[in-house]
């Protein structure tokens, strides 16, 4: 602002009301040309609503938006793109049945001849080091590749402001670093970037200024480089952040889950086969499985939970019982609980009430069904216990799973499994898209369950999460599991290399920054 050039984007007094909620309350802040500006806040703080208004998907009820100093009204996303605003969505705005090329073409406002567009796509990919096959169908791509489509689509419009909503949750450390290189290059070319993330150390590494939202209001503006992750997290949630208490001298108990030479052929045309996977998890141990999306995590979760039954019966052993030939329900009875990655539609039925969702996985161990008849009171009281114990924000056991925010639904699902007191809990992506407060609560619940003697497997693409949570860590790549290593003293470069597998570029590790402060701090 001091250099005389007008702000690229300036919001003043933006208000947005939804029935019963004030989503944005007189929000004001400014983004300078070439600035990388962070927008921080918990889920429900109003970040998404705000960027949707900047991008023209929604209209503010009051307030003013200025672009290069001139007042503007962005009536729709097309108008936003005309101004030079590009956006990479958190929940990708992609069309699964269409090809990469068709998806990108849909993001263009003018009809460009296919050949020209393809050569422009290749130019952008070359300039920023992004690789993609334009003719693949989106369903066949990993989450990281899908994000690249969104980025290429936004870059093709030569944006002057690029909005990035939670872009790094699915990337390896190397990919994150590559993304940062792209973003810094863009910023150096004069493009402003509005960067939304929960990962505070990334914001510290990347951003020039941060605006913190809480309850729809701007509560602070700060220089992230002058703050600690912890101080920013506390501003975000407006209270002291709960520190995960992780007892130091925890003893490993007996082996509770043993997987030996588990091999499963790929399921479906785009599935990943599991190749000779062996590991053991002890009582009291949290075992992490790191890896980039699409390397067999789903197949492994399905194989452990019993949704896919394959192989010899002693390939999976639970408390000395061979269970690999048992289906999910029989495994649950023996004490194996699981939480898949997809909350809505896999872990819970969105249109069912929470009480009904409890019946789905907890009926046997809690005794909610007797001779085929549901005991509604049992279901309700158990669900109530989950809600109370895990501080799930909801109107009650009768609200539908789909009505809960991501973090609250995840707390409910974790609680539903944990209160069944499972011997082994397998959980995939426990804090995907979950705000800092809820993530801390979920991490604490996992640690407490391990403390009580259960064995826990955490499958996650968030390496920070695994490093702060787990005792032991292995990396899955193309269906193969690396040797387990103790997290204490783990070599992050080596983990990054393992995650990249044979496709990893060895040179890329030279630029990986390790964030020691984050390794033992609570994952924000």
């Amino acid at each position: 602002m001091s250099d005389g050039a007008p702000n690229r984007l300036e919001l003043s007094g933006i208000v947005k009301r939804f029935p019963g909620v004030l989503a944005n309350d007189r929000v004001s802040f400014a983004v300078r040309p070439g600035q990388i500006h962070a927008l921080l806040g918990e889920n429900g703080a109003g970040k998404s609503t705000l960027v949707k208004m900047i991008y023209g998907i929604m209209q503010p009820d009051a307030g003013e938006m200025r672009w290069d100093g001139e007042p503007v009204t962005v009536s729709n996303p097309k108008a936003a793109r005309r101004l030079g605003i590009g956006m990479v969505f958190q929940h990708f705005s992609l069309f699964e049945a269409l090809t990469v090329f068709e998806n990108i073409a849909l993001g263009m406002d003018a009809s460009i001849p296919a050949r020209d567009l393809e050569s422009r796509i290749r130019d952008v990919m070359k300039t920023y080091g992004l690789t993609l096959d334009p003719h693949r169908q989106v369903t066949t791509l990993s989450v990281g590749e899908r994000q690249r489509i969104e980025i290429v689509r936004a870059l093709l419009l030569n944006p002057r402001l690029l909005i990035m909503d939670e872009p790094t949750s699915v990337l390896t450390p190397q990919e994150v670093e590559q993304l940062f290189v792209v973003l810094r290059q863009l910023a150096a070319e004069g493009c402003s970037i509005l960067y939304i993330s929960h990962k505070l150390h990334e914001i510290k590494a990347l951003c020039d200024e941060a605006t913190i939202l809480r309850g729809g209001r701007v509560v602070d503006t700060c220089d992230p480089k002058a703050e600690t992750s912890r101080s920013m997290a506390e501003k975000m949630i407006g209270a002291g952040l709960k520190v995960i208490s992780k007892p130091a001298g925890r003893e490993k108990g007996r082996e509770r889950l043993v997987v030996q030479h588990l091999s499963i052929p790929a399921i479906g045309p785009f599935g990943v086969s599991l190749k000779d996977i062996s590991f053991a998890v002890h009582a009291g141990e949290v075992f992490g499985i790191a890896g980039v999306a699409g390397n067999g995590q789903n197949a492994l979760l399905l194989a452990l939970s019993g949704e896919e039954v394959a192989g010899e019966s002693d390939m999976i052993v639970l408390d000395d019982m061979p269970i690999a030939r048992l289906k999910a329900r029989a495994r649950r009875l023996k004490g194996m609980a699981s939480v898949p990655e997809e909350r809505n539609g896999h872990a819970a039925v969105p249109d069912f009430t929470l009480a009904d969702n409890s019946v789905l996985t907890a009926r046997d161990r809690i005794g909610m069904v007797i001779s085929g008849l549901i005991r509604p009171r049992m279901a309700t009281s158990y669900t109530g216990r989950v809600i109370d114990t895990f501080a799930v924000k909801t109107t009650g056991t009768k609200s539908t799973a789909g009505s809960l925010s991501g973090g609250n639904l995840q707390k409910y699902i974790m609680g539903r499994e944990i209160l069944q007191n499972p011997g082994v809990l397998v959980v995939s992506q426990p804090t995907w898209g979950v705000d800092a407060g809820a993530a801390a609560a979920i991490h604490q619940a996992i640690i407490d369950l391990a403390e009580a003697g259960s064995a826990i497997v955490v499958i996650s693409q968030d390496l920070d999460e695994l490093l702060s949570l787990c005792d032991t860590l292995a990396v899955i790549n193309e269906g193969r599991l690396s040797r387990p290593m103790a997290v204490k003293g783990a070599d992050i470069e080596e983990i990054g290399l393992l995650m990249g597998g044979i496709h990893g570029d060895p040179k890329a590790t030279e630029t990986v920054h390790v964030h020691p402060e984050n390794v033992h701090a609570p994952a924000p």
């Binding site: 949707k52 991008y55 023209g56 998907i57 929604m58 209209q59 729709n76 996303p77 097309k78 936003a80 793109r81 969505f89 990708f92 705005s93 992609l94 069309f95 699964e96 049945a97 269409l98 068709e102 073409a105 849909l106 993001g107 009809s111 369903t139 479906g268 045309p269």
Partner: protein, 309 residues
């Protein structure tokens, strides 16, 4: 089998298939945009009765086709307003539209019952259209050529044009399309209107092409066949053509089998009558088995879209 018989069968089967093909092409575009309009039969009846009335009154079959298209489109707009603007349930509204079409056509058609109509014949000179061999190419009503052109046109529109890509995108993920900035509801209105016009033309085919008089329920359930064909053809126009002609072939064989007697008499006539439906299902199921993985259904088919704003 003589050449004459083969030619006769081909001409009959193509005539019998044409209304189904036209209606199914319209419904394919509607469903590609993410809307399930089960009211095809009703829109066809509206098109049939209005098309008959217009052709009978003016003596001009072209006006009959145009009036049929208009009637089908108007009927489809009732559906569009209820389901797209008011977000009513698409299945229930589509069924209501079919009932409405049956009632409307019975009422409106009352004065025309039993009145004769001139068939909409080939526009080629008799040397070609009546030629014993060449009539297999030139001997059809313009509606038949229209249906074939539309197969190519619909395929080209969906796969090769930007507007078609946007329409598919809207049917694939309405929320994504909305967030990129495409008018989901507007695109769907246009698709439904196109589907209505095609169903109206398909309805007008019955008096103009097949049975040149008005009787109640003239379309006799062919709208439902068209709907089923769209699913079994995995939303691909080329397969619609195959499916529709297959249906027509077997329906035609029923007629010739009765006439031929002999070995064909062994099978009860009910079986012959149901054969077209059975065979269509069997063959198209085989088709969809080969397309492994996805059935090709648009992901948002039948889901109402309510933008948060």
């Amino acid at each position: 089998m003589s050449v004459d018989l083969v030619i006769a069968i081909v001409i009959t089967l193509i005539g019998a298939s044409t209304p189904i093909l036209i209606a199914a092409l319209g419904e394919l575009v509607v469903e590609k945009s993410g809307v399930l309009n089960l009211g095809v039969e009703g829109m066809m009846l509206c098109g049939a009765v209005v098309g008959f009335a217009a052709a009978y009154t003016t003596g001009n079959p072209w006006l009959g086709v145009g009036a049929g298209a208009l009637a089908g489109m108007l009927a489809s707009m009732i559906f569009a307003f209820l389901t797209l603007t008011l977000s009513s349930n698409q299945v229930a509204t589509g069924l209501a539209l079919t009932i409405f079409g049956a009632g409307f056509s019975a009422l409106f058609g009352q004065p025309y019952t039993g009145k004769p109509l001139e068939l909409f014949r080939s526009v080629f000179p008799p040397d070609l259209s009546m030629h014993p061999i060449l009539k297999v190419i030139f001997g059809y009503s313009p509606l038949v050529y229209f249906s074939l052109i539309m197969v190519v046109a619909v395929w080209f529109f969906l796969q090769r044009t930007r507007a078609g890509l946007i329409l598919r995108a809207v049917g694939e993920s309405d929320i994504s399309a909305h967030s990129i900035g495409y008018p989901v509801i507007g695109v769907r209105y246009m698709a439904v209107a196109f589907g209505g016009a095609m169903a109206g033309i398909a309805g007008a085919c019955f008096p103009l092409l097949l049975t040149p008089q008005w009787v109640e329920r003239l379309t006799s359930g062919r709208g439902w066949i068209a709907l089923a064909l769209v699913v079994f053809a995995a939303w691909k126009p080329g397969r619609l053509l195959i499916g529709a002609y297959l249906f027509g072939l077997i329906a035609t064989m029923e007629l010739y089998a009765k006439a031929a007697g002999g070995v064909f008499r062994v099978l009860p006539s009910e079986l012959w009558a149901s054969l077209p439906y059975l065979a269509t299902i069997v063959v198209l199921v085989l088709f969809s088995l080969r397309a492994r993985g996805s059935t090709g259904a648009p992901a948002c088919l039948g889901k109402p879209f309510v933008p948060a704003n």
